[in-house]
Symmetry: D2
């Protein structure tokens, strides 16, 4: 019998930037009995989640739901739209941009990895002007796609996607715009249609508050058009049959039924007019992020994101002083305070940790997380300028809103 009891008592504080804590409501929905994915009940479920997720992406076009985790949806975006050897322009915002770039290379695409040099690129958002310049230089339109990450989970930077679209348009270039918003969707404002994105890739285990296991491609008409001639081999990821079957609320192969139950619940929670819908979701993430940043500033530590204009509402990267092993600090916090934080990845391994402030959180959850960090930093011998917890509390109390509303259940 499986138990998870590393800690003797109390609830774990899962403050990594995803998987985010799954609300009981969603776990409960996921425990409904698995049904026949070819039966009449399923079609009702299928249509419901397809409609709900499109609202979350802010799109009127198809959203493909894969019974696979987010990395698969990266592959799907590439495999459906590109052909072997195609030239792709990718922008390096951090570790996940790097992994996507590596995947594209592995799939046989010719990738070009643009970005600011060294660690600097990992502390700022996408520089849209660099993309514009590069595309202007591509007179023959060899570049078939521009790939950027919306919310870079490894750094805590949320790039301006609308600016990237403007850059492509300004260059008069026909490249597709493909965006990873795996950790941005349903936490940071994201507008697939309005921003002119061709393929948005996302996953379940972040703002959607689900366990990992389903992922998404939101696709524009231009992307669908491109998929008709793209020659990378594709079958499992192929959009065509899925879009066709989705019309009836079904999928061509076995969908991830119980996670779809969870997705139906998640959409209900996110879109609920009672609680303010998506604008309220985005606002509370911004609020939490501001509270956590107030804490980091009070400690006198650096926020990894060096440009306040692109601070992430989803997570905050906290740089350690010279000589401090961030993973040792994380271990103290995990072992003594039952709180998980994100590790530093790639270029910043050991030099920072990441505090997730997304999904099923509230002010006290984040004060607790910040307190765990503060105690752990002190126990690890890190000198702090002041109390981050106090700063976070000051922020939250000064900006407190009346949250509780009585409903008739």
């Amino acid at each position: 019998m499986l138990t998870l009891d590393n800690h003797p008592t109390g609830r774990h504080f899962l403050q990594i930037p995803g998987p985010s804590p799954v609300p009981d409501r969603i776990l409960r929905a996921m425990s409904l009995p698995t049904i026949d994915h070819r039966g009449p009940e399923f079609a009702v479920l299928g249509r419901r989640v397809l409609e709900g997720i499109a609202q979350v992406f802010q799109t009127r076009h198809p959203v493909i739901i894969y019974p696979a985790s987010g990395t698969g949806a990266w592959e799907a975006a590439l495999a459906n739209t590109l052909s072997p050897g195609d030239h792709v322009l990718m922008y390096e915002t951090g570790h996940f941009a790097t992994l996507w770039n590596r995947m594209a290379t592995r799939l046989g695409l010719k990738t070009e990895f643009l970005g600011l040099p060294g660690i600097e690129g990992w502390r700022r958002g996408v520089q849209a002007h660099m993309i514009e310049e590069r595309l202007r230089a591509d007179r023959e339109h060899a570049i078939k796609a521009v790939c950027v990450v919306h919310n870079e989970t490894s750094t805590g930077v949320t790039s301006d996607i609308a600016a990237v679209r403007r850059a492509i348009d300004a260059a008069g270039h026909p490249a597709l715009l493909m965006v990873d918003s795996i950790s941005g969707l349903a936490s940071a404002d994201y507008r697939h249609d309005e921003w002119g994105v061709d393929v948005t890739v996302s996953g379940s285990q972040k703002g959607l508050m689900l366990p990992p296991g389903i992922s998404f491609n939101a696709v524009s008409p231009r992307a669908i058009e491109a998929s008709k001639t793209a020659r990378l081999p594709k079958s499992f990821w192929a959009w065509d049959e899925i879009i066709e079957m989705n019309k009836g609320g079904y999928w061509p192969y076995t969908p991830n039924t119980n996670l779809l139950y969870g997705l139906a619940e998640s959409c209900d929670m996110l879109l609920s007019p009672q609680h303010g819908g998506l604008p309220a979701v985005f606002a509370r993430h911004q609020r939490w992020a501001a509270g956590v940043r107030a804490a980091v500033n009070a400690w006198g530590l650096d926020i990894q994101c060096a440009d306040p204009a692109v601070y992430s509402p989803v997570l905050t990267g906290v740089m350690m002083p010279e000589g401090v092993d961030a993973d040792a600090v994380r271990r103290v916090i995990y072992e003594r305070f039952d709180c998980s934080l994100g590790t530093g990845l790639g270029k910043v391994k050991g030099r920072m940790f990441r505090i997730g402030h997304l999904g099923d959180c509230n002010d006290l959850t984040l004060v607790a997380a910040v307190a765990g960090c503060e105690m752990g930093l002190k126990l690890s011998g890190v000198k702090l300028a002041g109390s981050g917890v106090q700063a976070a509390m000051d922020y939250f109390a000064s900006n407190a809103v009346r949250l509780a509303q009585l409903h008739s259940g």
Copy 2:
């Protein structure tokens, strides 16, 4: 379809002194399918919980498990051992002692309510010497029972039960000793046999971390003897048939099967050698209580319990400054920070609130609760001497222990 969504996001901080937060492990155990309470599987369950709960009471004698909430177990203690008009000496430690006294009166007993005058009695523990004096004066042994509350949930005072036993013995008096440890059991050290208690009353929704709905009478051989001649009417509460049927692992009427599943899990968690068993349970409650008291002291507010020797490890009563409505403060904390605190009861209504620090908690839960209080107090205009959160964190960090241990699941 029932939902509980007063707050739009995140997990509620249930910091009342019971019901305490029910761990997922227990909720999960409670969702096992209800079985035939006369079938062979049930006997295995029945014997298992009877054995486990006896260990929790630290007794080798029978523990009666009622399919009823704690107030019923109060009635059971009286109805099994006493006759109409019997003289009972009860001690006023607070609101729950008062309610038990009222119940005894309603059941037709002649109660005498001993205690210190006014609110003073609600800030100190049982004065064993007063009991001793009263019993010495009762030369004819008219008094049939002495009733005291171990952990007074309305005040945050944990009385010395062994001292009460010594007082009765010193007076050479044959009265039964009946103790309410509804909110003490499985949080504060409690020794039914060693302390010579005749009937201990307890309930499920406190240290046992279960929802309300089952309750207990741990009974001594003397109490069983008394029950044979006691003449208060009794049927549902009658010990005799239950003790008889329990020998086979069954109950005379339908038991509360799904809560018994929870109780089996609860005993596993509390008694687990891996996590240190009951001594570790008691130690962590003491630790949490010390952290919370550090916070109240830092705020410059009074702890309701005026005698440090009997501070409760389960809850702390926080007195408000003159003119502050404690319930208005609680409302702010509930509405803005999604945290429930205990209200002031009876004599202290509106003058204090109670912070529960029991059951399925950890350091960060309590820092969060203290933070909710601190922000709510400030928003309510209460002047605080200093930061309670800082004090709690200092206490927890200075006393941090390595909690996490890897198990093979």
Copy 3:
């Protein structure tokens, strides 16, 4: 970690006449986190379940919900309305009537136990004319209450309660009418107000499809009037404080919160207009009962209830041929076919078993249960006249209705 795995695979068929199988929907509702029973959310829940349960009892008067199992509600009915030594007329329909009678005696009431002689009384319903005669003879109105069982769980007989009311009225007698409908409510038609019942006792684990642990007293204005002068000691069971507190949606002591979640869900399911409300609930129980009786008849075995007018829609008692140990048959069915049946109780111990057909069932569940019986009977060497399964299937197929309806979830 608790598991229930007596059988290696598949779902247990719990075909006892209660506890009935708890639907996943209810188990899921019961797993919501326990909340503060004094907080604002609770009042919403409290009012909701009080309103729902009154509809189920078909009453406009108060229904008391006890955090205790059904036997407690028997005691509550007596303790609230009667005084020590009061004369009570009880009618013997079977084992549970006998137990209620024994309880009344134990509580100090003077009980008179009316009924047909020997086992005959256990095969027929309440003989209202006998009650009428007895009451007419009671010229001084010494009899304070008439107690009958609506659906006798030990036999499978559902008595005509309206006839009992008419008998009391015909005798012009002021005795209160108290009815046990523990296993009748929400399965068999039951009309507290229309039938002029003063106190109806019920429980959670039968037609309400909940685990055991809450129970009910539906009370008439006359019963409430009687409770003001009744002198049996009462405190936990006392209606007065509960009725008073219920006005705000609260209880005077800790309610069984998680079972109330289940009750809210149960009322939603039973009263759902979409599925036809209570009339549809009663109709399907009648239908299941008819199918099961068709099976028993086909086997050539006797149905314990000898009067077709009072066949129970909830359970069917199956008499064994001379020399067959019914419990040995039950054991075979349990061990080999993973199906639990009710044992014979009291006067019919070992001579019959009971098939429950209530709550969360459907046609195939009952065909399966009947098949388990048929195979078990054969393996036990009982000669059967014909196939009961075939007869049940014939009945169900001939009376099949279109059940499935598509909802939008």
Copy 4:
């Protein structure tokens, strides 16, 4: 709030050949909170499921667990081992073999689809001698892989995989042997190592009793060797990084954590020595299949599988008489008896339905399913030779074993 209530009461009988009913134990395990997939607890879980699933495949070599449904694992098998244009010999056993063949074509492989003509090939197992002949003719070893389906879910035929291995060896041909045992694993005996399979593809929603969403590639050393030079683009499906990371109990990208909880529970259930381990699992599927076939024979209907040597223990295809629309019959059974059956696929659409008898079943579940079929067939006007239910009961009763064992929970 999502509900699934097409039917007003009772539990749905999900008798399709997968997804199979998910046991409560697994749903409960899946509701554990999602944890950090990079943290220390996760490694314990990861190693545990990797070890367990290898035992289920009966292999000592790596098993890749994909966070994707079964169709993805088909693609993974091909993408890891083959290069564009490679010649693959596939054998047509039914609809799923056809779909796999179509996928291979779509991925740019040159497929050759061997099989018996017309519907005949869909009623028999793989003809190993045809494979041997074809391979002997392939003197240049152009054929790189032989792909067969172990348990063809569309027909109810379980082919002899050891015979295919012998055929390849007899031909002295180096082709890889790739087997789809999506619906065979953990229901039908399957021996990856002993039978010399190079890649076995499987999924979660059949014998493993999980919801859909994870899938598997069990791989031989030869398959791993082949993957090093295979040139189909691969990234998400690539074995190399997964095998490397699995050594520590981790995955290169986010795994499907909550389904892995379920998998740990599933392995515990399947491998439990207490219940007989895999041999007992296989034996009970054979037993259920025999009971269901007895029913079909009694009805006088044809079993789709025309060769008794390869009857599937997992499902049985039931051919309808000329002129009967199998899907209309299925609809009657679904709407009136709350039972889902598998539809006829591809060449046999509308001509047959499939009864799943796998996973979390027991004798009574299957009697119920057969009863639903029998009543539905009659209501649809299909003339039956005799009672299938009676035949199934005869079979089960004659072969009854004592299943129940008391455990200490």
